[in-house]
């Protein structure tokens, strides 16, 4: 735990001692096998500093400008219930880094969406300064029949040195409640972004996540969904566009604890340069979770010789009456499709851009919020070499 050593020795929480003792997870720990932990280890991290900002923001490990709206109450960690405390402890116990997250957590905010209320929260994750590490926790309760839209965006300002932003989101979706969560990660080139999302869903509740990674040097997202009562459902869509020497990692675990629960996952990784993307999608269907349904589709597109992907879908099914499907593909651009486009006079670079866009666009189209969808799309087009042609076409051909 060399990089976080000073911070951990200053922490008074008991998990700090455990974290120091355990150290960062080694390559032998399956879930950390591919994660390049060099920067995490070698940077002499200091506590993140807070700066002025507008709007609800996570900034230097602290929440600022708390959202105020009808149907939403905010309070601090002292209001957490025993179940929430137990779940946070459980998350912390996973390995050395999660213990460190727990020990170094500086702010814990509780947001409660009242019964039947409808709330939208926009959270900006601001860039920490060089060598600064911020750790925070957001606990969310979505009341009965309530609807929450949480949009998480990242500030993209240049940083010349590593900076670390870690956020744990613990959410409870009550009966008939719905939480939609959009995570649009465009952090700076040196950012190390860690996000832990743990959601428990009650009867007829729904959690929908779009997780989109473009930025950061390293982004690690852990998603744990528990479908805890009948008709609980979740839909998770992910897109990672990985370039240069970036590393994007999503670890997803969905647990069907009872029968008549549904999960659907669609992920696309597009990797260029020396980038590397890891996707681990584990679905567990417990013995008594009969009539559950799950589907998972993972597509990986490799655009250069040095690009790497590590996809791993895992299905663990103990019930005998379930509908389960999964598919995983890894490949480069389809030569037949390229030839078809080129034979129509479209240049090699434009043809490649077309096909890359097509690969990712499917995920972008699924974003319901029009404003964010356009932001994501323009970022996608900006990332493509020769994306201008498609931008022009989209603007010009509205029939």
């Amino acid at each position: 735990m060399s990089g976080l050593y000073t911070l951990l020795t200053e922490s008074e929480r008991y998990s700090a001692k455990d974290a120091l003792q355990k150290g960062l997870p080694s390559k032998q720990v399956e879930s950390w096998k591919y994660l390049p932990s060099r920067t995490l280890n070698r940077t002499n991290w200091v506590s993140a500093s807070h700066r002025e900002s507008t709007g609800f923001a996570l900034n230097g490990g602290r929440f600022a400008n708390l959202p105020l709206c009808d149907g939403l109450s905010t309070s601090t960690h002292s209001s957490l219930n025993p179940s929430e405390i137990a779940r946070l402890e459980n998350i912390a116990s996973a390995h050395g880094f999660s213990l460190a997250q727990d020990a170094l957590n500086t702010d814990c905010l509780l947001l409660e969406v009242m019964k039947l209320a409808e709330v939208r929260i926009d959270l900006s994750r601001l860039a920490n300064n060089a060598s600064e590490a911020g750790f925070a926790t957001l606990v969310i309760r979505v009341g009965e029949g309530a609807r929450l839209l949480l949009i998480e965006q990242f500030e993209d300002v240049p940083r010349s040195q590593p900076n670390l932003d870690s956020l744990r989101i613990l959410a409870d979706v009550s009966r008939n409640g719905e939480m939609k969560h959009l995570r649009f990660q465009t952090a700076n080139d040196h950012a190390q972004v860690f996000t832990e999302i743990a959601v428990d869903i009650s009867e007829n509740g729904h959690y929908n996540l779009h997780t989109i990674d473009f930025g950061a040097k390293l982004s690690r997202t852990d998603i744990e969904i528990r479908l805890s009562a009948e008709q609980a459902s979740t839909k998770i869509n992910g897109l990672a566009v990985t370039n240069g020497s970036q590393y994007h990692d999503t670890h997803l675990a969905v647990e069907h604890r009872v029968g008549d629960t549904q999960s659907a996952m669609t992920f696309r990784n597009m990797v260029d340069g020396k980038g590397e993307a890891t996707f681990n999608g584990r679905v567990l269907i417990e013995k008594n979770a009969q009539r559950s349904a799950t589907e998972q589709s993972v597509g990986n597109l490799l655009l250069s010789k040095k690009a790497r992907v590590n996809p791993k879908p895992e299905l663990e099914i103990y019930a005998d009456d379930v509908t389960a499907s999964h598919g995983c593909t890894v490949g480069s651009l389809n030569q037949n499709e390229l030839f078809y486009l080129k034979s129509r006079g479209i240049s090699e670079t434009d043809a490649r851009a077309f096909l890359q866009y097509a690969f990712a666009a499917k995920l972008v189209e699924l974003i319901e919020d029009a404003e964010i969808r356009e932001l994501v799309e323009s970022r996608l087009l900006g990332e493509l070499k020769h994306g201008e042609l498609i931008s022009e076409l989209k603007e010009s051909v509205h029939v």
């Binding site: 078809y340 034979s343 240049s347 043809a351 866009y357 097509a358 690969f359 010009s396």
Partner: protein
């Protein structure tokens, strides 16, 4: 327009074309017929620049250029068009994007100004009407979920928009019902012009009844064994290819 001399090509070390000679002048329609596996599709693929095929001998001169040295997109810019036997489905790319990008890429290389959106749409609507295709085809992904006949009509639609100098139509009649065959055939006839040539690759005579070729060639085992006028196609329909092989 096009001069193919002693063309040899192979795929995966297997020789397919074994010395093709063919001259096509401006304004002519040539049909290449032949049994399965004779090399018909290989010929059109080699001409369009598909890279799985290796040319081992011979040359192809197209409008005073060495065609085989050009990349597929350069061939399109030079006025070559291939209608695919199996048009490729491209999920995620709208047909209208492909059409507009292709039209303007080709125009740019012919020194023509870019077509603005409104002019492009006017043009594409005209062509859709000819091919009896609804406007919804513009917004569907390229060939995705199209029926066999719709795919072939989409190919001819592209040909009409790109206005090639030399069109290679590879088994454009396969998979078409009688009505679609007539629409496609008439779509091709509309393109007949003194400065445009067509090479039709086909298995059957039925398309040739609508698009009357000036010359018919019989390709067997990688070589053109017999050439003639339209009556040769009629003879083949009656007698099959066996008689030719013996001769």
């Amino acid at each position: 327009m096009l001069s193919i001399r002693n063309l040899h090509a192979r795929v995966d070390d297997k020789p397919i074309l074994k010395g093709i000679n063919l001259e096509i002048s401006a304004g002519e329609i040539h049909a290449i017929m032949g049994p399965n596996g004779s090399g018909k599709s290989t010929l059109s693929s080699v001409l369009a620049g598909r890279d799985e095929y290796e040319v081992t001998n011979g040359e192809v001169i197209y409008q005073n250029q060495n065609l085989l040295e050009l990349k597929p997109e350069e061939r399109a810019w030079a006025g070559l068009f291939l209608s695919f036997q199996y048009p490729v489905e491209i999920p995620g790319v709208k047909n209208v994007y492909l059409l507009k990008a292709a039209v303007n890429a080709v125009r740019e290389h012919r020194g023509l100004p870019e077509l603005k959106a409104a002019d492009f749409l006017k043009l594409v609507r005209e062509k859709l009407k000819i091919m009896q295709m609804s406007e919804s085809f513009l917004h569907r992904n390229v060939n995705e979920g199209f029926s066999g006949g719709e795919k072939k009509r989409n190919e001819i639609l592209q040909m009409q928009l790109l206005e090639p100098t030399l069109a290679l139509l590879d088994e454009t009649d396969s998979g078409l019902d009688v009505d679609a065959l007539r629409i496609v055939g008439e779509g091709i006839n509309l393109m007949r012009a003194p400065d445009r040539s067509v090479l039709l690759v086909t298995h059957y005579q039925r398309l040739l009844d609508i698009v009357k070729p000036d010359f018919v060639h019989v390709l067997i085992d990688g070589q053109i064994k017999l050439s003639g006028d339209f009556s040769l196609a009629q003879r083949l329909e009656k007698e099959g290819y066996e008689g030719i092989e013996v001769a």
